[in-house]
Amino acid sequence: MSGTYQPPNTSSRDDIKEGNVIYYTCGDCAVRVPLEPSAPIRCQKCGARVLYKERTKRMVQFEAR
């Protein structure tokens, strides 16, 4: 664990809030839903209320024993 715990600095959070959309997947129609923080959770296409986070684009390697 590097670095000690610092109280969350509010300045960095505000950057996150601004225009930082994260994409989610609708549980019903599988459409990509861009969502801003504090936006209501709802699929823009079908109105479903259950959204899942998209899988990372980063490479993931598993140890296959």
């Binding site: 590097s2 670095g3 969350p8 996150i16 994260i22 259950v50 899942y52 986070k53 998209e54």
Partner: protein
């Protein structure tokens, strides 16, 4: 595939199991095909669904019907009439999102969003306004939790495709509720039957008791024989009342009439009763008036009658007595037109039963007899609760109405519509809370039961199914009586003989057998109408005197335990009645049986009786013919058709006693009345997994019933879509090589939990003692026993009174511009990255809580700061983030669920079991090349120690191995059947093995993998279905050298989850004391635990502080010593309770010099 595929289609297909449409049908062999037909319509979880359907469709209307009128006391011209009630289909109940409110909701959405799967309930009302009758329809009253797959559920009648669209598993049994996103089951409750007389004998004498249960109240009446006197007891009576006084109080009967009504012509009973007549004479009771007064004076004031007498004048004792007799004593017999005769007959019958039992002990009833029991299902329990809540609703509505009419100047006419929805919320909350907490409280019955509902166990498919068939008993577990726990002969075919837990609940928790059905109420009207007209010579009991009732050869016909009519031809009556039932004139679930001991015919139409279908046999021939089965195979008829056509009928436990039932067609004689559909149905669904259970020692089958529920396998087809708190799934589940018909019927072959391991029975390495298994490493590499563990971490974003909400923070960025280590797995939205590996201590959900949570009255803003409240991953072994779900709840707050996944291969110490109660842990994992191999190159997956067999006597396991092997080597999977009570496969399987070049007994030549030499013996080998059980080393492994301590006692914490220490308990302490290991004891109890330095004053014996004694006001005698912190705490706690504690200190090992003991305070003094 049919439009309504529920998985039974394959079994009913014409080509099922290698049989073609043209193949000959043998009723002997193929009658089991009735079983899938039965399970399509009844059985297993259908009882829950039937019961719930009855409640929401019929019972709820009856409840409202009996409480329909609300009249105002203030304004006699105003009333509200509730004309109808309906339960709709489940809808969303989102508070703020009007877009969604009222829309259909699927069970899966409820699970994911932590909602209630509930439907709106509508009522129609009528009330007067301006001398007109105003009718308002479809007013929303409350919300009713909906049972899955019931008639009010979208899943009922859905085909596979629709199920898939709703993300639901087509094999899911249903029958449970979803409340707050958790699946809740209302377990079947076992109870003694209501409104029936039970005669018991104890040290004091014989007692007949009856629990009267009506919609208004529940009470118990006793008629007891105490020292040759018969008395009547009831809760509302202050003391037992002589029975003759009670009978006299009913009026209209002379002493002679009473004598005849009880004893008939029997002089022995007459003599017995004579003693009781003296009692009445002694009390000076001769007339009805005197009797009523006698009873009235002994009715308890208050209690049940508190409310009624309030305000009114004190009534005279005669009215009190009359009221008690009419409404309270044996309340289930209703009085019509002040005619007490039916009640007198009932009491007389109880007295007669007491007298009979006092002369003949055999006539005492057996409480444990299944026929004397009733099973209470979800519908009944909900009905009780709903009625209570509805009455409360009506009461509040009335209160508000009265309040309105009391107002002197009313501006508008009263409109009740508004208050209905508001008051109905109480019903919604009551129902939801009861299901959620499992606490059933019905005020009117004084009923307060806890633990009625349980969370549906989703450990495995079998666990869930097993829970749906579970019956919990009302007996307390602590009682050390064996009677209720023992296997009752009347359980045959109704309750599973094997499936019961071990230990404290043994025999009290039972399970339904495969073909059991629990009746719903059939209604007495049709039956009562039928009785007098069925055969000639049936007379209503009211017109008869005691003389006629108890005449030799007279049989009293009881309807639900109440005398109703009289006949002298019982057999003919029963026969005619059964005929009517078979032809469908009476419900198929009405039972009739003749009791020869009491010369009585009992007709039962009540709910909760346990029954089971049988094939009808007439004149020594089964009525089931080949053409019936042909039609069934063609899908032209169903089970209900057989029921209607008199091929099959349901028998309840009492009626079974009048039947002679053949097990197979060969056993039928002219005396037989019925035939079993299939003998293996005496077992339940869980015991049905065991192949050849009839070859096992019986406790082994019981053990397997417990372990089958812990096996890791597939849970449901939608297992990866549902986010369970804890989910174990097998990577490569297999259908067992040897299956049973039960397995097919409950679809275990579609959702199996285990794998077919090639097992060699031999001793190997010594790491296989005490049931340990030797596993092949190469098998593990290929995925044997591999499983996945999913865990849910869920967080709801709370709203606070200050108007602030919880929020998600962004990951903290370190000096290098990257997130700090703890936030390594976080995305910029403060939630874990899907697919990333998460290690101990890392954050998954970076929640932040406002510091300012309370409401501000003065309008100030309060602090804007947020405090981090993250959800961290706490388990030592890393996992992968599998899924991150975000959604809203009904309260419109955000909910976040994170699912983690671990993939585990078996390791040393993991638990495995076969299906025969043979559990074991992995003792060693051996390289493939060191395993023995056969001449065909076969290398086992598992080596099992042969010592597991002799004492366990699990011959079924040997048979499973043999049968499986024959099926494998021949390539015919239809060989792999191990049904209970069916076959004995050794010869046929041996032949198959020989045909395929193997030894007939399943033993083969093996070469040692270690030495390369042949083994000296031939080794028994073959496929055996092995289950991986949920107990895994990874979840239990724990060690601690130093670690956290409890705050209060400063002792090490307890339990693995708190990194706790291992307790050296009292018994261990005793051992060390006895051995004299004082230094070890000192180390364990003090140094490694809560040793602490305290200052003690030698003078006063009290605790000091920093070398100073508060009491003695000096440093003089204060000394230091080491003692357990817990002991110090005890002393201080005692002081706080005003109990003085003094510690006298002496030196066990004084200094050789007589000088003063060496202490720090000495130096201070010096």
């Amino acid at each position: 595939m049919g439009a309504n595929d529920d998985g039974f289609e394959a079994l009913l297909e014409p080509f099922y199991n290698g049989k073609k449409l043209t193949d000959p049908i043998s009723t002997k062999e193929d009658k089991y095909q009735l079983l899938p037909a039965f399970l399509k319509v009844k059985g297993l979880v259908k009882q829950h669904i039937d019961s719930y359907n009855y409640f929401v469709e019929e019972d709820i209307k009856k409840i409202v019907q009996s409480n329909r009128m609300i009249r105002s006391d203030q304004d006699p011209n105003f009333w509200i009439e509730i004309t109808d009630i309906r339960v709709g289909m489940p809808t969303r109940d989102d508070a703020n999102e009007l877009r969604d409110a009222g829309k259909h909701v699927t069970p899966q959405e409820c699970r994911l969003r932590d909602l209630n799967y509930s439907a709106p309930v509508f009522i129609d009302i009528a009330y007067p306004r301006d001398r007109m009758r105003v009718v308002r329809k479809n007013l929303a009253l409350c919300r009713m939790p909906v049972m899955l797959k019931s008639s009010k559920c979208y899943l009922s009648g859905a085909n596979n495709r629709k199920m898939q669209e709703m993300q639901e598993c087509p094999l899911d049994p249903g029958g449970y509720f979803i409340v707050g996103g958790t699946e809740k089951v209302i377990l079947i409750q076992e109870q003694l039957s209501k409104n029936r007389v039970i005669v018991e004998k104890d040290d004091k004498g014989v007692t007949a008791s009856v629990t009267s249960s009506t919609h208004e109240r529940k009470s118990k009446t006793y008629v007891a024989l105490r020292k040759d006197r018969i008395v009547l007891q009831h809760n509302i009576l202050m003391e037992p009342i002589p029975i003759i006084i009670v009978l006299k109080a009913f009026g209209g009967m002379s002493d002679y009439d009473i004598m005849e009504l009880v004893a008939g012509g029997d002089t022995v009973y007459q003599d017995d009763l004579l003693m009781s007549f003296d009692e009445a004479t002694k009390a000076g009771v001769y007339t009805q008036q005197q009797a009523l007064e006698y009873i009235g004076l002994r009715v308890k004031m208050g209690g049940a009658r508190k409310g009624r007498t309030f305000g009114g004048p004190r009534r005279n004792p005669i009215d009190d007595g009359l009221d008690a007799l009419t409404n309270l004593i044996i309340a289930h017999i209703t009085i019509k037109d002040s005619d007490f005769y039916p009640k007198a007959i009932y009491i007389a019958m109880m007295v007669r039963r007491v007298l009979m039992a006092s002369h003949n002990e055999k006539l005492v009833d057996d409480r444990d007899f299944v026929g004397n029991k009733r099973l209470e299902l979800a519908g009944q329990l909900l009905s009780l609760l709903f009625e209570d809540l509805f009455k409360g609703f009506v009461a509040t509505l009335k209160q508000q109405m009265e309040y309105f009419f009391k107002r002197p100047n009313r501006t508008a006419a009263y409109d009740p519509t508004g208050s209905i929805g508001v008051n109905g919320r109480g019903i919604t909350q009551g129902l939801t809370r009861a299901i959620q907490s499992g606490n059933w409280t019905v005020k009117r019955f004084g009923m307060a039961r806890a633990g009625v509902t349980h969370v549906l166990s989703r450990l495995s498919y079998i666990a869930a199914l097993g829970m749906m068939t579970r019956i919990s008993s009302q007996f307390e577990k602590t009682r050390k009586v064996s009677g209720p726990r023992a296997l009752q002969p009347s359980q045959w075919g109704m309750l599973c003989t094997s499936d019961t837990p071990e230990g404290e609940a043994c025999g009290l928790v039972k399970n339904l057998a495969l073909m059991t059905h629990i009746t719903t109420e059939a209604g007495t009207d049709a039956v009562e109408e039928l009785i007098p007209n069925l055969i000639s010579g049936v007379e209503r009991i009211q017109t008869q005197t005691g003389t006629e009732m108890h005449k030799e050869g007279s049989y009293i016909i009881h309807v639900n335990g109440t005398p109703y009519a009289l006949t002298r031809r019982p057999e003919a009556f029963a026969k005619a009645f059964k005929q009517k039932r078979r032809s469908g004139c009476v419900s198929a679930f009405v039972g009739i049986h003749i009791n020869q001991h009491f010369s009585a015919i009992h007709i039962a139409t009540d709910e909760g009786r346990i029954c089971r279908p049988y094939i009808i046999v007439t004149n020594g021939k089964s009525t089931l013919k080949a053409e019936h089965l042909r039609l069934l195979q063609l899908g032209k008829v169903g089970f209900e058709d057989f029921l209607r056509n008199g091929v099959i009928e349901y028998l309840d436990v009492n009626e079974e006693n009048d039947a002679l039932i053949a097990i197979s067609e060969d056993d039928i004689t002219p005396a037989h009345t019925h035939m079993e559909i299939e003998p293996f149905t005496i077992l339940g669904a869980v015991a049905g997994l065991i192949p050849f259970p009839h070859h096992n020692q019986s406790p082994r089958n019981t053990y397997q019933c417990a372990m089958g529920k812990q096996a890791i396998g597939a849970i449901a087809y939608n297992q990866f879509n549902r986010i369970d708190t804890l989910l174990y799934t097998s990577l490569y589940p297999q259908r067992p090589m040897v299956i049973t018909k039960t397995i097919q019927l409950i679809h275990y072959d579609k959702l199996p939990a285990g794998q077919n391991a090639t097992v060699v029975v031999m001793s190997y390495s010594g790491y296989d003692i005490e049931d340990a298994l030797v596993l092949n490493k190469a098998s593990l590499d290929r995925g044997f026993g591999a499983c996945q563990v999913f865990r849910k971490y869920s967080v709801e974003m709370q709203k606070y009174r200050s108007g602030r909400k919880d929020r998600l923070g962004g990951p903290m960025i370190g000096e290098d511009g990257k997130p700090i280590a703890k936030h390594r797995c976080l995305d910029k939205d403060g939630l874990a990255i899907v697919g990333s590996k998460i290690c101990q201590g890392e954050t998954m959900i970076l929640r932040e809580t406002p510091v300012d949570q309370e409401a501000h009255v003065d309008g100030s803003r309060g602090s804007d700061e947020y405090r981090p409240a993250p959800v961290n991953y706490r388990i030592a072994d890393p996992a992968i983030i599998d899924k991150v779900m975000i959604s809203d709840t009904e309260r419109n707050s955000q909910i976040i669920k994170v699912q983690t996944r671990q993939t585990r291969r078996p390791e040393l110490g993991d638990k495995f079991s076969s299906r025969h109660g043979q559990k074991g842990v992995v003792g060693t994992i051996v390289e493939h090349e060191d395993m023995p191999f056969s001449d065909t190159g076969l290398v086992p997956d598992i080596i099992m120690n042969p010592h597991g067999f002799p004492s366990r006597m699990t011959v079924g396991k040997l048979f499973e191995c043999l049968t499986g092997k024959a099926a494998v080597v021949s390539g015919h999977r239809e060989l792999g059947f191990g049904d209970a009570f069916r076959s004995h496969p050794v010869e046929e399987m041996g032949r198959t093995l020989i045909e395929n070049g193997f030894e007939w007994g399943g033993k083969d030549y093996f070469t040692s993998g270690i030495t390369g030499e042949p083994h000296e013996a031939y080794l028994f080998n073959g496929p055996i279905f092995y289950q991986r059980l949920k107990h895994m080393v990874q979840d239990k492994m724990h060690s601690r050298s130093r670690g956290p301590r409890a705050v209060l006692t400063r002792q090490p914490t307890e339990g693995r989850s708190r990194d706790g220490g291992l307790r050296l308990g009292e018994m261990e302490r005793d051992c060390l004391i006895a051995y004299g290991a004082s230094q070890l004891l000192l180390e364990r109890l003090m140094i490694s635990s809560d040793a602490t330095q305290v200052d003690i004053c030698e003078q006063c014996g009290q605790l000091g502080y920093k070398g100073y004694c508060q009491t003695c006001k000096g440093h003089g005698k204060v000394t230091k010593m080491t003692m357990p912190y817990a002991a110090k705490l005890l002393v201080q706690e005692l002081i706080s309770m005003n109990v003085g504690v003094r510690m006298q200190i002496e030196d066990k090992f004084p200094d050789p010099e007589p000088a003063l003991p060496m202490r720090p305070k000495k130096s201070v003094h010096a």
